[in-house]
Symmetry: C2
C-alpha cells in the first residue's frame, strides 16, 4: 500500500476467544448470529435477555449442550461485567446500550453495540469459513449488503479443498518442527523457506491429499535433501476427481472448433452433392 493512501481503514484481526468469557446482551436475530460466532471461537458465553424476546436460534443454543450461562432478565449493571472479556449487545434500548458501552470502556472490556457505530471498539462483517480457513469481508460499515454479495462471489471462486489443504500444511509444519526443532535463528528460517517452497510447488488439491504417511515421505525425500519432490514421485494418486470446471474449460473450445468444422463440412458437402 502506498503511504499516501493510508487512512480510513480498520485493523482486521482474528481475535482469540478460546476459554474467554463473552457476555451477550440481547437474544434476537442479531444476538443469535453473535452467539454462533463466539461459540465457533470456543468462548464461554453468558446471555442476558428476557425469554420473551428470544429468537428460536438463540433458544436452540441456550437449550443445547454449549458452554452457555443464561439469565432470563435485562442487563443489571456493572456486576454483570465481572470476569467478562468481551461484551456484545444487540438490544433495541439505545440508552441502555450506551450505559453498557460506558461501563465497558471504564473496565477496558472490548465492546460492540449493534447499530451504534460510535459505541463499538470493533465491527463485524460477512464471513466465510472452511475448516481452519476464515475470511472476513468488511465494508467499514458502508454497506453490509454489498459485503454479503462480495462474500458470495468470493465463495464461488475459492479453491476447492482450501480448508483441507491448510489443515494438511499445518500438520506438516508440526511434523517438521518435531524433526528440526528450535525457535528463531537459522533453523527457523530454513523451515519457513521449505514450507513456502512446498506451498508454491504443490497445488491446493495435492496439498489437501497429504496423509501422515506421505508427509513422512515428503520430509524424508524433501526436507532432508533441501528439495520439494513431485507428488507423483511420492506415489500419490488422485482421491478426488480433477477439477471439473478446469476440464470443461479445456474441452469447450475444442468441441466448439469441432462443431464449427462439422457444420461447415455438412453444409459444404450437401451443397456440393446437390450441385454435382
Amino acid at each position: 500500500m502506498h503511504p499516501s493512501v493510508l487512512g480510513g481503514a480498520s485493523l482486521l484481526i482474528a481475535w482469540q476467544l478460546k476459554d474467554k468469557h463473552v457476555l451477550i446482551v440481547g437474544g434476537g436475530d442479531v444476538a443469535s448470529g453473535r452467539i454462533e460466532s463466539v461459540l465457533a471461537a470456543d468462548a464461554r458465553v453468558t446471555i442476558i435477555s428476557p425469554s420473551s424476546g428470544l429468537h428460536p436460534l438463540a433458544k436452540q443454543y441456550i437449550e443445547g449442550s454449549y458452554p452457555i450461562t443464561y439469565h432470563d432478565r435485562t442487563f443489571g449493571g456493572a456486576e454483570d461485567l465481572s470476569g467478562v472479556d468481551m461484551v456484545l449487545t444487540a438490544i433495541d434500548d439505545v440508552s441502555q446500550s450506551r450505559t453498557i458501552c460506558a461501563l465497558c470502556r471504564d473496565l477496558k472490556i472490548p465492546v460492540n453495540v449493534a447499530d451504534i457505530p460510535d459505541s463499538c471498539d470493533f465491527f463485524f462483517g460477512s464471513q466465510i469459513r472452511d475448516g481452519p480457513l476464515q475470511i472476513l469481508v468488511s465494508t467499514n460499515g458502508q454497506s453490509p449488503k454489498l459485503a454479503n454479495i462480495i462474500k458470495r462471489k468470493i465463495e464461488k471462486h475459492l479453491p476447492e479443498h482450501a480448508g483441507n489443504a491448510i489443515a494438511a500444511v499445518g500438520r506438516l509444519r508440526t511434523l517438521l518442527k518435531e524433526r528440526a526443532p528450535g525457535v528463531g535463528g537459522e533453523v527457523s528460517k530454513r523451515r519457513m523457506k521449505w514450507m513456502v517452497d512446498v506451498c508454491n510447488s504443490w497445488d491446493m488439491e495435492e496439498l489437501a491429499q497429504l496423509d501422515e504417511q506421505t508427509m513422512k515421505k515428503l520430509l524424508d525425500a524433501g526436507w532432508e535433501n533441501g528439495t520439494v519432490p513431485n507428488p507423483r514421485d511420492l506415489g500419490m494418486r488422485w482421491k478426488w476427481p480433477t477439477n471439473v470446471s478446469t476440464a470443461i474449460n479445456t474441452a469447450v473450445p475444442a468441441l466448439t472448433f469441432v462443431a464449427g468444422a462439422a457444420c461447415a463440412s455438412i453444409l459444404l458437402l450437401s451443397r456440393l452433392s446437390r450441385s454435382r
Copy 2:
C-alpha cells in the same frame, strides 16, 4: 454454520483505531508491516526500537509526516505502556516479548507478539484493501503462505470497482438518512430494505458510477415511490468500458466456431478441387 461444526475458529473483526494509541516494539520487516496496518487505520503510533535495527520501510515512516513518536532504544518497562490502547511487538528477544505480554495482560491492553501464538490476544492475516472494502484471509496460524496464495486468488476474482460501489452506496445511505431520518423502528427497517433492493437490482459497475446528482434522482424516483428504477431510466451511461474479460468470454466461443468452420471449408474445398 451447523452447530456441530462450531469450535476451532477465531472471531474475525474490524478493530477501530481512529485516534487510538498503538505501541509498536521493534523496527524490522515485521514491525514495518504493522506500522503500515495501524497507520491505515488512523492510529497514533509510538515506535520503540534501537535505530540500528530499523528496516528501511520503518525508517521511511518515522521520517515521513505521520502521527508517529519514535524512541531510539529498547523497551523500558510498564511506564512505556501508559495511555497505550494496543501493543504489537516484533523483536527477536523472546523473554523480553513475554515480559511485555504479561504487563499488557495486567493492564488489559490487547497485545500481539509476533511468532509467539500464546502471547497473542489476536492474530493478523493476509489482507486486501480497495477503498472502504477490506478483506482478511486467516488460516488460524496454520499456513501464512497459503493465506497469501488464497488472497491473491480472491484479488483476481474481486468484482471490478467494488470499492467505488461500496463508497457510493455508503453515500447514498447517508443521503437517504437525511431524507428519512430516525433511529430504529419502521423507518429504519424500510430504509434498510430499500438499500438492499438497490444493491440487489444494480450491478457493481452501475453502483460505482452513482454520482451525487443521480443519487438524488434515484431517491426521488425510487425511495419516494418504494421502487428501484433501472440505471438507464435515470439517464446513466457507461463511464468505464464494459468489462473486457466478459467481452472476451463471449467472443472466444464464436470465433472458435468460425475458425473451425473456416478450416474445414478450406480443407474440404482444396481436396474437392484436387479430386475433380
